[in-house]
């Protein structure tokens, strides 16, 4: 069966549309669709879900014909590191403060690059942390601690 899929981009895009369409239809099933008098809050989402699912099916059908198209490789490691750096930043910001959060963000995201060098990135991170504390905490007065309560101050 998988050998019959020719356009892999169409197939996966279609599958995503179909899945989200079905999911949204299911989740929105309880919302009031409204009666003859007026449209309820469930009407528009339900119509859109059906439309999205239909587009998904059409895209999947189309993937069986035409010139072969493949999806190129995924940069799993890089992607995870970049996304993880943002998640860690969010988790550390209030507790550990902006300085630690910026250091972690820079080192984790930086390690995704093939030219990563721990010493140089630590220096970059310190410069960025200093700059952001000056601009965002001192200058713009954002309610973010430079050094958070977790560090025992």
């Amino acid at each position: 069966m998988p050998t019959r899929i020719r356009n892999h981009k169409d197939f996966w895009a279609g599958l995503i549309f179909l899945a989200v369409g079905l999911l949204a239809f299911g989740l929105g099933a309880d919302y009031d669709r409204g009666s003859d008098g007026s449209m309820g809050p469930g009407y528009f989402p339900a119509a859109l879900s059906v439309l999205l699912a239909l587009i998904g099916v059409a895209s999947m059908l189309r993937s069986l014909a035409g010139p072969p198209v493949r999806v190129d490789g995924w940069a799993l490691r890089n992607g995870c590191l970049v996304l993880a750096s943002v998640v860690l930043f969010a988790a550390l910001l209030r507790g550990a403060g902006l300085i630690v959060a910026v250091l972690v963000l820079t080192l984790v995201s930086g390690s995704a690059h093939r030219r990563f060098h721990a010493g140089r990135y630590l220096l970059l991170a310190l410069v960025m942390a200093g700059f952001s504390v000056l601009v965002f905490v001192k200058g713009l007065g954002l309610p973010i601690p430079a050094i958070g309560p977790w560090l025992g101050f």
Binding site: K9, D10, W12, A13, G14, I16, F17, V20, G21, A24, L27, G28, Y31, D32, D36, G37, S38, M39, P41, G42, F44, P45, L48, S49, L51, L52, I55, A58, S59, R62, V71, W74, A75, N78, G79, V82, L83, S85, V86, V87, F89, A90, A91, L93, R94, L98, L105, T106, S109, G110, H113, R115, L124, A125, M128, S132, F136, L140, L142, I144
Partner: protein, 499 residues
């Protein structure tokens, strides 16, 4: 005479010290990010949005606009000097511009790009001043039915203009509209798709989504393959074009300006599309067609004029109808909402200072840009050598702090990371995020107008067809959709984009 009074109000506003300063900051930043590949106006505007909350609305809009059209100037610098377009809208400029640089004519290419942009920008600003007020007056007569049809037309047009698969672009629209439904329904108070998460009751924040889909996803992709950046020349001289060069570029600049002005207004159009079309048309009509690809000066003049004109006129639908024609304008709408201004046809009459001040600032900004980009071009050229591996952690940091400060919430950052993953999947599958973002913004408005129009017409769906303006817009949308779905014409469209 009314126009003169308005313009003097505009210039009085734009010439205040604060506004001049922020206009300069905007175009300066715009040039910088235009030069830096991997950092575009969408990410930059989204990043700086929180910093503008404390500014007066006019000042904020002046600065954010400056970033957008400033990026069109900066993008051409890298395209010409290192064959690496800083922005998508300068992609075609690289073809002949870089060839000119390799032949020792870098100065001439840069000058033509800047002067063409300045001319086009000035003309497009006049068009904006002339056409926006009557258009907004027309729009004031629109009812809900007209608005709904207008949005349908806008979304269809953005699909037609999108590159790549039509079906996928349609899917992205439906997906964007659905994402727009998240939050409390204003009419009934029903919570839709909120999963009992309090942060979702106000709906998905489009800045967060734009940052994830565009900013984060781009970073992950840029890490995959990073082009080498070599300056072809550090010596840039001969900035003043000769008389003969000026004669050669007059027609291409005019054609580029007209084309860019028209395409900029269309939804899904804007600067990038304008430059592509201008280049391919110039290649067909130019008497020097054979030189194209080998350093033809027309191949720089036309697309650079077109992209700047397009950047300027894309403000027209945003300011007159409250409907964004591209992702940057979608962010500008968001900026206005944050400032407490209801986007729509009322903006020009209710906020004359904002509209005319913005128009005047655009002209001043274009003047700043010529000065910034010609004598100081050496400085920008050096900025090119900032290595990406040191740049992207900084982009990430500014994005993260910006998104957090939107509502002081960690949740927004988790959402940004999530949509970064989604955006990377979209990139891999050639699913265009731009139509999704437009639909996300338009979704709630569309539903509201649909419901109101039906309520007023006792639930008669024929109201959309029977009202003449509404019916005409729906017919136009249908024609556009049919035209691009016909296989023969679809092939032509693919060819046009391939060029």
């Amino acid at each position: 005479m009314e126009l003169l009074a308005h313009l003097s109000l505009g210039f009085a506003t734009a010439f205040s010290l604060d506004n001049l300063l922020y206009c300069f900051v905007g175009v300066f930043l715009g040039t910088a990010i235009g030069v830096l590949p991997g950092l575009g106006p969408i990410t930059t505007i989204a990043m700086l949005l929180p910093a503008t909350f404390t500014l007066p609305p006019v000042t904020a809009m002046i600065m954010l606009s400056g970033i957008y059209y400033g990026a069109q100037y900066g993008g051409s610098t890298t395209a010409i000097l290192i064959n690496l377009p800083g922005e998508a809208s300068s992609l075609v400029t690289a073809i002949d511009g870089h060839e000119m640089a390799r032949r020792g004519q870098a100065g001439k290419a840069l000058a033509v790009a800047a002067l063409g942009s300045f001319f086009a920008g000035s003309v497009a600003t006049v068009l904006l001043a002339a056409f926006a007020p009557p258009l907004s007056e027309l729009a004031l007569t629109f009812g809900s039915a007209e608005y709904f049809s207008l949005m349908v037309l806008g979304l269809v047009a953005s699909v037609v203009m999108a590159r790549g698969s039509l079906l996928r672009a349609l899917g992205m629209i439906a997906l964007g509209l659905l994402l727009g439904m998240v939050g409390i329904d204003v009419n009934s108070g029903t919570q839709r798709f909120t999963f009992d998460v309090p942060a979702l009751t106000d709906g998905l924040n489009f800045v967060v989504i734009a940052m994830g889909l565009f900013g984060l996803a781009e970073i992950i992709r840029n890490l995959e393959h990073e082009g080498s950046r070599m300056l072809v020349t550090t010596r840039i001289d001969g900035l003043l074009p000769k008389r003969e060069d000026v004669r050669r570029i007059v027609a291409p600049v005019l054609r580029g300006t007209v084309l860019g002005s028209v395409l900029g207004v269309l939804p899904g159009g804007g600067a990038a599309l304008a430059s592509f079309v201008a280049y391919s048309i110039e290649k067909k009509v130019s008497p020097h067609a054979a030189q194209f690809g080998h350093g033809a000066i027309e191949g720089v003049a036309a697309p650079e004029s077109a992209n700047n004109a397009g950047a300027q006129t894309s403000f027209i639908p945003m300011l007159t109808l409250g409907i964004p024609s591209n992702s940057v304008m979608a962010l500008m709408i968001g900026a206005m909402i944050v400032q407490g201004i209801q986007p729509g046809p009322g903006v020009i009459s209710e906020q004359p200072e904002l509209f005319w001040g913005l128009v005047a600032s655009m002209w001043i900004g274009n003047l700043f840009l010529v000065v910034l980009n010609l004598p100081l071009v050496g400085m920008w050229a050096r900025l090119v050598s900032v290595p990406y591996h040191l740049l992207y952690p900084a982009i990430l940091m500014f994005s993260a702090i910006g998104v957090f400060s939107l509502g002081n919430s960690e949740f927004a950052l988790f959402m940004m990371a999530g949509f970064g993953l989604v955006g990377y999947v979209f990139l891999k599958l050639d699913m265009e995020p731009a139509p999704l973002l437009l639909a996300l913004i338009l979704g709630p408005m569309m539903e509201e107008h649909l419901r109101r129009a039906l309520l007023l017409s006792d639930n008669d769906p024929m109201v959309f067809v029977q009202r003449p303006i509404s019916g005409a817009m729906l017919a136009l949308a249908l024609v556009a959709l049919v035209v691009v779905l016909v296989p023969a014409l679809q092939k032509k469209r693919d060819e046009a984009f391939a060029e």
